[in-house]
Structure formats: C-alpha cells, structure tokens
Symmetry: C2
Subunit: 431 residues, 2 copies
C-alpha cells in the first residue's frame, strides 16, 4: 500500500480524520436505500449502525426508503383496480411504504435501548410543490426534528415524500429519498449527509472491468454529476445538484461494511492535482446518422426540435464538414429509446431533404472525468493517442470543461477503459 | 309473509321509505369494515355501491378499514423487530393499513368515472387524545371534507385514526372505524351513518339457533348497547354510545346484498309496544362461587377490589342469604379469563376467611332485552315460567331496567333461546 501514498504523504492523516468524521461530534444525516432495508435483518443492521453512530457522539437523522418489495407490491395492487391510477392517490398509496419503514426502524432501535422517533415527510416539515409523483421539495421547517435531536432522539424521517401546498401527501419521484436526505442536511446545517447503498463508494472505474480500480476518497460535485450522467448509478443527479447548490458534503458508503466511502464535496484546489478522476463506459447508447442533409441554417434546429417533441433524449451531437452544400449529422441516444427514435425519424428525413438515416446500436461511449482537466493541457491528446495505439477507432468526440467523451465500437469498451485507466495512472489516485 | 304484518299494517310503508332513505337526498356516512374490503374484488363491490348511492342523489362520506390481512401482517412485521413495540410507533405502522385502503378505493371509484378523494384521519380533521393505540376522538374539524362534498366528491376517510395533540398519528383501538364513522356523521350532521358488515342486520335471536328469528327493522340505542354487551358482535359498544350521545341514526347492513338493515336510533314511544326486542345467549361465561364467606361489612368490597386489581372482568354478582353469619358469593367472568381469575382467587379465599372456591365453566348467560319492559309488567315471571316449564334450572338472575339475564347450564342454552323466542312471540316482531 506504500505506493498509494505517492504525492500526498503530508495530507493523508488529516483527510482520513475528516473522512471518518473522527470525534467531530456533529450532526449526520444518514440515508439508507431499498437494498439496505430490504428485510427485518437489514433493518436490524441499519439500527445497530445508526445507534453506534449516536454512541460515537453524533446527532443522527435517518432517512429510509420503503422495505424490499413494498413499493412494487403497492403498485401492483393499484394496477388491479385502475389501469391509470390518479397521481394524488398514487402518492397516498406509495407513501405508506416509507411510513412502514420508519416505524419498523424506530421499533428496532427501541429494542436496542436507543431513544428514537419516526416522522412522516409532512411531520418532518418537508413542503413540496403540487406535482404529484414527481414533486420537488420547496422548503423544510426543521423545528420539530431539531427539538427532538436536542432531546437526544435519533430522528427517523420517511424519504421520498412531503406535504403539498394543498396539504396532500406528495412523493418526489425517482431518487427522492436521496434528495430528502440532502435537503434535510441543508436545512439542519448538518456536517455531512451519508448515503448508504450496496456499493462502498465511487471508483476510478468499474472494478469488474479494471482490477486496479481504486475507490476514490473524494470527488467534486461536478465530477460526480458527470459520472452520474454516465451511468454510475451510485447517486441520483438531482440529489448531487441539490448538494452542490446548498454546499452539503455527501458521503457514499456501503451499509454492509464499516469502511469509509467516497466524499462528494466542493471542489478544492488540491483536487486539480488529479487530472482524471475516473473513466466510465456507457454501453447503453446507440448512434443515429442522417446522411446528406442540406447544409443550410435551421436544419439542425428543425431536426432536434422534432426529436425533443417526441421525447427522445439526445446526448452527443456531431456534424461533419460540409461537402457540396450537404453534410452528415450524427447523434447518440439511449439504446432503449431507439424504437421511439426510429418513429420520430420517420418523415423527418424527407421533410429536411436528407438522403437517408442509419441506426447503429453497437457502440459505447467512453468518458474520462476530472476537474484537473481545466488546468492541465494535453489530456485529450493523451486519451486519443492511447486509444489509437490500442487500435481502437474513435467515431465521435464530445467535450466539456471537465470531461472528454468518445464513441467507439462496443466490443472495445472494456479494453478502452482498461488502457485509459492505466494511461492516466488512476491506480495511483488516492485523494 | 302476511303474518309478519300483524300489528302494524299502516306504518309499514312509511318505515320502509325511511329505512331505505328513499329519495331523501341527504348526507350519508358509510363505513365498510375489514370483511367488506378484504380484497380487490370486495373493493370494487364497495366502490359500485358507494357510487350508486351518490347517483341516487346522496352526498357520501366513506370510512374504510384496512384490507384483509394487512393489519395482521403489519403486526407480525413489528413483532419481528420488537417484542413490545412502542405504542406511538405501532400507530405510525398500523395507520398505513387504512391509508392503503382509502387510496385503493379512490382509484376504484375513479375507474368507474366517479369523483372521489381519499383522506387520512388527520387530513379529515380528526383530533384525538394522546393515548396511542387506544385513543379517543376529541373533535373533528369537518371543513375540508365539507368543501369536497360541496364540489361533488365522494370523500373517503381512513378509519381508526386521527391526529394527537402532539401532531402524531394515533389509532383508536378496537372498533375504531365504527367510531370514526359515527363521529364524522355527528360532525357533518349526516342524515344517517351506515355500518356495512358481513351480516345484514340485528336479529331477534341468532338465526343459526332460532329458525324463526327475524331481522329487526329498528332498535333503540339502549337495546343495542345491551345486545352488544351480550356478545352480538355487530357493532362496537363504543360506537353505539357515541351515536346515542350525538343522536346519530345508525344502520347496520350487509355489504354483500342490497337489502335494508337494522336502524339503531333514539327510543320512540312506539318501540315500547314491543316488550322483548331480542334474546341472546352468551356461552363465553364461567361462574365462580366462594363458599362460606363471613357475612360482615367490607368482605364483598375486598373480594372485588382484588379482582379488579388483577384485571378480571366481573359481570353478574349474586350473594345468597346469610346462614349463621356466613354466605355464598357467586360471580360470572368471561371463560377465557378464567385462568387469570384463578390466579387472583389464590390467597383471596384465605384472606377473607372463606371455606373454599368453586369454578364452573359449563354455564351460559341468557338475556332478554327490550325497552318495553319498562312499561310492561310480568316479563320476568313469563321468562322464569317458560324456562321452568321446559325443565331449565335458573342458577343466577340479574336485571336492569331493559334487560333480564339468567345463568343456566350451557347444554340448555339453545333450547332456552328457542323457547323464550317463542314465548315472547318475537317471530311476530316487525318494527
């Protein structure tokens, strides 16, 4: 492990202290997702961990999701009485899943001798907008939670729900429990928001593909947002955006062991020492190419307006140089939306006067991410050169300030990730 | 069926009209218990009935219990994490059962094209005291329900729950959904509160014992209270007491057919025309006799104080005439509490200086009930004479203003009910 200390011998202790929160005695918001509260055994494991955290001297607010198959069972029940259940009633129904979880966790904690109290989203003071099944949190009045914390209680809050302006129960939609936890951490001025999942942190690459992949100790909000959008399903983008907006320090860690996880935080200067924080492959992409499109103003706008109207998500867009007044235009879209994309393209080819359209479902998008790219030059060159030396052809390129993505053949995806991981020495990263 | 009209040919039509609420166009509170909402099929049946009621021109508030085994499953889940779950958390947990029901019923109604909205107990404005798992309703602010009714909605309220003074969810304990319905009917000034069950009304006797038993069209609150305490499990006593207190007209009817049920209402003069409204047997009683108790002041007080301290429910008490300064004392208690009673009696026999104690689990309590007893004499005589002529020995007697109860051998219980039903011509009752 000595090699891992290269480049940061003098900061290591301080960071480990910070990462584990040592004897900080602060306020922690801990969120346990579905896989962490799958059954009663999991609930007891969570209860022990929460209680231990309090015993270490922290105040603890816990956010939990619904247990195991509860939500699926409730959805199936609703389908039996209605093909298209009303959104408000769906929220009334589904919110019971988290309510059951908070009560069970409180009971488990009581059984261990802990002081604990459960709260629904509305009881916890969480206000949302009126958009049932996909509501957004508008504000939190944390007084009730705070006064219980002051009395020494562990406060357990039902994730994924709040009270709408009409005093109805509203749910937050996908990833809602992560957002609940981050919003509570912001409102309570918590020292950290810990998101417990079934993985133990964010890695430099998928460990199943790259044996040398390292768990990152920390990552900047913007890096995490890029990685999340690349299919690293550790955190919902919305929760990360919320954390960034309110400066909430997030930690992703496993509920199945006691190791520190990955901290997602404000970018600090030292982060730029690492040029590339991670490399990710997204194999759920397809490439669509429209051939021989007339190269005149308004054509691109027309194409992508029609695609947006058909709810097709477009990711990368590339337009080649014009030849004799015509050009080829390519874009990528999620593979599982290819069917919808095909429907949307029908007619569109004729209407813009193109020669034809071609679909390629055999690609992968490989991306390298790092805030260090802003201050380091030659990153793109090194990426392209590495791929080239490994006989991997690049078909499309797209860049942002802190990310470079390329489209290649899907069969080369794992190889590309491995060689890039090595080229950028990500196995040496430990910060 | 012509015989049934004896004695009231001129009132029959009027009563039928009233009983079915004809075209009254009033506000109805309908309560559907666990067996009426056991599964999705039952829910759809309830939805059709509720919607039909609204189509007839009524405003409808519906109170529902938890579906099928939901409550049992939640209790079993809680036992897996805690041997003695906290009452507040138990309420948090169990209240989800009714919340699921209201959402599902609302969805089923929407599926039929009805305007419907569900509410939790707290949303419906139901306030309770702080005694979790056995809370009492303190008040109802019906504005939210009323405004939805005014907009033409069927309002579906979760039974069995309300909001405590500390803004926690509190459940009402046994029979709580009946009480919710009656309280809502009182607060909303409803024309009637209909309690749907798996029986179609209150009978003059158990139809499984007496073939000629008749369903009663109406019964006075006090009669229903006596019948409920006699083990006629149609309505919870607490709900009847509440109805009596606020003058809410109750109707007990079946959710599985469309026949009118039994109306429980304020006593009116004509009710006294019927001397005995019903006869009931309680076979879940045991007799305890303490022999040769010193006949001096304070002994009875001492015995029943100790029993009360041991949580033993005592029903009838009989003390025989004194012989040479000693007496025998008998009381009845529920059979399933006999074990607890035995424990309580240990030591007690010695401490009061009695000769011994004897337990008899082979008895039944037979009761006749009717407000007409107040104005009719000879009822007790006719009861005792009837039993005597049928060779049924009476071991204990207890009376109230509108009830006479006797203890007999359990083997004679069915026979006693049959002969009394005939002696008091209850097969002719139709009012």
């Amino acid at each position: 492990m000595e090699a891992a200390r290269v480049g940061r011998p003098d900061t290591e202790l301080a960071i480990e202290y910070d990462n584990q929160l040592g004897e900080l005695m602060g306020l922690l918001v801990q969120k346990y997702g579905g896989s962490s509260v799958a059954d009663v055994e999991c609930m007891n494991r969570v209860a022990r961990r929460v209680f231990d955290t309090q015993k270490e001297g922290h105040s603890v607010v816990v956010v939990v999701s619904a247990m195991g198959k509860t939500t699926d069972n409730l959805i199936s029940l609703s389908r039996q009485v209605s093909a298209q259940p009303d959104d408000r009633e769906m929220d009334m129904l589904l919110s019971t899943g988290e309510q059951i979880s908070v009560a069970i966790l409180a009971m488990a904690l009581h059984g261990m001798g802990a002081k604990a109290i459960s709260m629904t989203g509305p009881q916890a003071g969480i206000s949302t907008d009126k958009f049932h099944t996909k509501a957004k949190i508008l504000g939190i009045r944390p007084e009730r939670i705070q006064s219980r914390l002051d009395e020494g209680f562990i406060v357990i809050v039902a994730g994924f729900q709040g009270l709408s302006p009409t005093e109805d129960i509203a749910t937050l939609g996908r990833g809602g429990s992560d957002t609940t936890a981050v919003a509570l951490a912001a409102a309570l001025n918590a020292d950290r928001c810990q998101i417990f999942t079934d993985v133990d942190g964010v890695y430099t690459a998928d460990p199943r593909v790259v044996v040398q992949a390292r768990k990152l100790d920390e990552v900047a909000y913007d890096e995490m947002l890029e990685l999340a959008s690349l299919g690293a399903k550790v955190l919902q983008s919305r929760a990360v955006e919320f954390a960034k907006k309110y400066g909430v320090e997030l930690e992703v860690l496993s509920s199945f062991d006691r190791n520190p996880g990955t901290v997602v935080k404000e970018e600090v200067d030292t982060m730029e020492h690492i040029v590339v924080r991670g490399v990710a492959a997204d194999k759920n992409q397809a490439k669509v190419t429209i051939h021989h499109v007339p190269d005149k103003p308004g054509v691109a706008a027309s194409v992508f307006k029609d695609l947006a109207a058909s709810n097709v998500n477009v990711d990368m867009i590339v337009q080649n140089v014009s030849e004799a007044g015509h050009t080829d235009m390519s874009f990528t879209t999620p593979s599982d939306e290819l069917h919808r994309t095909r429907s949307a393209m029908e007619g569109l080819v004729d209407s813009v006067g193109a020669a034809g359209v071609n679909y390629d479902d055999d690609i992968a998008k490989i991306s390298i991410v790092g805030v260090g790219m802003r201050s380091h030059s030659g990153v793109a060159h090194r990426m392209f050169d590495t791929l080239s030396r490994n006989n991997i052809n690049i078909e499309m390129i797209s860049t942002s300030e802190i990310k470079i993505s390329v489209v290649i053949r899907r069969e080369h995806a794992d190889k590309a990730v491995q060689v890039l991981h090595e080229a950028f020495e990500m196995h040496l990263i430990q910060q």
